[in-house]
Amino acid sequence: MSEELVPIRFYVNGEQHETQVKAHDLMIDFLRERLGLTGTKRSCDMEVCGTCTVLLDGKAVSSCSLFAFELDGKNLTTIEGLEGPDGLHPLQKAFIRCGGFQCGFCTPGMILLAKSLLMENPDPTREQVCEYMDANICRCTGYQMIVESILHAAKEMQAANR
């Protein structure tokens, strides 16, 4: 079977790209190896652990189990796209302030999943945070601090919007 090339056009972190990918390329490999966006991590490779979480049109998805060609026409956000002109995103600041990571491997996925939660629900209860975030795994088991970080960020973001 020849390696079919598929033309795709999409935005990553606000920047437009137009390129070709092999039909069987996975999104995570394309992001890490072609675009150099290595903040997106691979671990379980089966949509369970959440280290490969990216936001596709604002929705949290597992980039390990999507094809690269599925980026066509989409708007993608990776961890590299969170920092704004004013520096780190409030979620990133909150993870630092509240000790929301230890080894840091799950952190990009945790922060992006938290971002999708706060876009859907800007003022979640602790229970809602736990329920939503149970999608992603932290092997250092720093879950309490991750929850604290997200609740803290939600407060900061709400205050900033007032």
Binding site: M1, K22, A23, H24, E47, D134
Partner: protein, 288 residues
């Protein structure tokens, strides 16, 4: 590593079905891909052709047909869309509850209900709920269209009634009268459920007028437990609450689980019994 394949992105359903007939065998349909990519990456299946149906309009619709009193779910409708749908939450609460519990939000954002069914993964949530709702699926090829009851769609572990040139194009679920109570219970120590239980009861004059019990993950297909459903009929809530343990035993005996990583046959039967008993008791209390 996924081996190379030819990618097709048809713009209409007839085009997709024509492609399926043309390349029968080693051809896979891509909707959400949350099942397909796992199996491709593990090398458990191989595809020479992949037909991506996401560019076909209107396959992502949820429609209510008031004449038939049924909801129609297109093959691109994701778990998350069903979970969030006001129509589903209002008229098919057990379906909404099941979708909220399914896997994780990343998978629910991408995976479709139709795709989930097509892989007939035994440790999956939807089958038991669809069985108690008496759901059916429509299977279409270029030559014909047929409607198959959900219990007949599942043939065996990872096997369905789909022919190689057929595509699942619709899931229909009849709406129940308002006075049904429902419970969806699952035991899920990891990512995939070990046992799922869906129980619906309808009550009239203090007695159970109708019951439907579906068991999932404990056999090659969802199980409706006719003996249990019969045994509930005409009994009062108090009577059923007192007998819940014994009745749940009927359900456990009707289950046909495999011993696997989740547990032994005996352990899974005990879990079935516990879940059915809890579900039944909650509905006898007037809750649920």
């Amino acid at each position: 590593m996924i081996t190379p394949f030819a990618l097709h992105q048809p713009r209409s359903l007839p085009d997709a079905l024509a492609l399926l007939s043309e390349h029968d065998g080693e051809t896979k349909i891509l909707a959400g891909g949350s099942e397909l990519l796992l199996l491709l990456k593990m090398g458990l299946i191989k595809a020479n052709h992949i037909i991506d149906i996401k560019k076909i309009p209107r396959l992502d619709r949820i429609d209510y047909d008031p004449q038939a009193g049924a909801i129609h779910i297109g093959p691109l409708v994701t778990h998350r869309t069903l979970e969030k749908s006001e129509l589903v939450q209002r008229d098919f609460p057990l379906l909404a509850e099941m979708e909220r519990d399914l896997a994780n939000v990343r998978i629910r954002n991408v995976g479709t209900l139709a795709g989930n069914l097509c892989f007939a993964e035994p440790h999956a949530d939807p089958a038991a709920v669809l069985a108690v709702y008496d759901a059916a699926v429509t299977l279409q090829s270029s030559e014909r269209e047929r409607r198959v009851a959900i219990k007949d769609f599942f043939m065996d572990y990872y096997e369905t009634a789909l022919e190689k040139n057929e595509m699942l194009t619709d899931i229909d679920i009849p709406k129940l009268p308002d006075n049904f109570r429902g419970s969806y219970l699952r035991f899920c120590p990891g990512e995939w459920p070990m046992v799922t239980v869906a129980l619906l009861t309808r009550w009239a004059d203090g007695a159970c007028a109708e019951a439907r019990l579906g068991l999932g993950c404990v056999g090659p297909r969802p199980i409706r437990v006719g003996e249990f459903e019969q045994a509930l009929r005409g009994k009062s809530g108090d009577e059923l609450a007192a007998k819940a343990d014994k009745l749940a035993g009927i359900a456990a005996q009707s289950s046909d689980p495999l011993a696997d990583l989740w547990g032994s046959v005996e352990y899974k039967r005990q879990i079935v019994k516990n879940l059915v008993r809890d579900g039944l008791r909650s509905q006898c209390d007037g809750r649920g």
